[in-house]
């Protein structure tokens, strides 16, 4: 049925309540967008809806929800700004993470970091049973207490959280090229690398053996021809997780990435064993 002004008037109540069938809803929307005549009935009846919500007695949610909302917004803001202002980040970015966040998450209190963990758990809760929720809360409390006592762990947790937020955000961008990093030494090491059109590279690695002394993992970029280019280096603790972010790396259509474990960070060519490698998709 063709949607006319009279017909819109007739179905306005169902439309503002979202109670029309999908096809009729679309027809009303199309009419409202194209009709030169005003339809005050839509605003008038739509204005009733907040009253319906106001008929409910306000209910106070758990106090942690506020922290969770704000922490999630801060993480979102951090990720957006890191993408919007890549030139503001020096490489290697592992060292840059706390600097970048100065004034925000970089100076976050223990409570803020706890809330970040809680926020993540809150978002995962929808797929948890109540028993796993209890276990998760216990884990968060334990983690929080441990982190508050050991500031070094707190700092690492902070970096990891920021790194996760940035990396996840970059992966959602349509023009990001990715490389799946797989072990070449038979180990369980793996990872993912993201390459932006600007030449920014983020590498996230898992299952690495912890570095000791001067030992480092060096990330190398290989091209079609020529010797590999050093991207940067990173150290790894007992978590086995490594993160590296570098800006303005010269790129080409064909790029491979590999990671070697080196006795120290002074190498200019790969000398140690290759641990993982991958190729950026086009």
């Amino acid at each position: 049925m063709a949607m006319t002004c009279d017909r819109v008037l007739e179905v306005a109540s169902g439309f503002v309540l979202g109670a029309l069938d999908a096809s009729e809803t679309i027809a009303v929307r199309d009419h409202l967008e194209s009709c030169p005549r005003p339809h005050p009935e839509i605003d008038s009846l739509g204005g009733v809806l907040p009253y319906l919500a106001a008929s409910l007695e306000p209910v106070e949610p758990p106090a942690w929800l506020r922290e969770s909302v704000i922490a999630a917004a801060q993480a979102d803001l951090t990720a957006r700004r890191r993408i919007a202002e890549p030139s503001a980040l020096p490489g290697p970015a592992l060292a840059a993470v706390p600097k970048m966040a100065a004034g925000g998450l970089g100076e976050a209190s223990g409570a803020e970091l706890i809330s970040l963990a809680v926020a993540r758990l809150a978002r995962r809760r929808r797929v948890m049973t109540w028993t796993t929720r209890v276990a998760a809360v216990v884990a968060v409390v334990a983690l929080a207490g441990y982190a508050l006592v050991l500031h070094g762990d707190l700092d690492r947790a902070q970096r990891a959280t920021q790194a996760d937020a940035s990396f996840n955000y970059v992966l959602t961008l349509p023009d990001t090229r990715t490389a799946v990093m797989t072990a070449t030494d038979g180990s369980s090491a793996s990872g993912l690398a993201a390459l932006r059109p600007t030449g920014d590279i983020i590498v996230r690695l898992y299952g690495l053996t912890a570095t000791t002394g001067d030992q480092v993992y060096v990330v190398w970029l290989s091209r079609d021809a020529g010797s590999p280019t050093r991207v940067g280096s990173l150290t790894v603790d007992d978590s086995g997780v490594g993160y590296l972010e570098v800006v303005n790396v010269p790129t080409s259509s064909s790029l491979g990435l590999f990671v070697c474990r080196e006795p120290n960070g002074n190498v200019t060519q790969p000398t140690g064993p290759t641990i993982v490698s991958g190729t950026f998709s086009l």
């Binding site: 169902g14 309540l17 979202g18 009935e41 605003d43 319906l52 919500a53 909302v69 979102d76 929808r126």
Partner: protein, 215 residues
Amino acid sequence: MAASPPLVAPDGLSEGQSEAELMRQVAAGEIGGLENLYDRYHAMAYALALRITTETGLAEDVVQDSFLGLWRNAGRYVETKGSVRGWLLAIVRHRAIDAVRRQRAGVALGEETDETLPAALTLPDVWPEVAGRLDAEQVRGALTVLPPAQREVIELAYFDGLTQREIADRTRAPLGTVKSRMRLGLAALREQLDSHHDGRSAVVTPSSSGKKGLA
């Protein structure tokens, strides 16, 4: 390295700041604006989410997702199209209904998109006046004057997210009857709520609201 702008807005937000000003802060990425809006509306948002989902965990997820939706889309807010509170509650309602449907289907709660963010459908800037003059009890009083059958179809649509056809199936009433009850009930509710305003200028009058053809 260029200095990053501060992530947290300085203190100084007052209760008197307008919603529009707070939304401008949120759109500019100032956390303080979001904190202020959360402090103002979290209890109402949570009550609505809880009423629709009937589950605290899901309601908490809905409130968090809704405030994040507001945070990420603040730039799309058009002041002249409705109040922030109305927009937020529309987001909460939409997300809550979506969450219930997804839960029934075993699908995880999705991220908000342009399609899932409702447009503002509220009276321009009426809310501050409403909040000052009507409490929840008064609004409930306005609802109770409706015939039960009209109130039922409105509540099934608003709080349960049912379509007119689904309401007809649920109540075993003819579809035409459901449509009629919804139309008459919403118009009568509009009338009731308007009467509480004593003809304040911001209230849409019958002549301007187009209600002529709705009653």
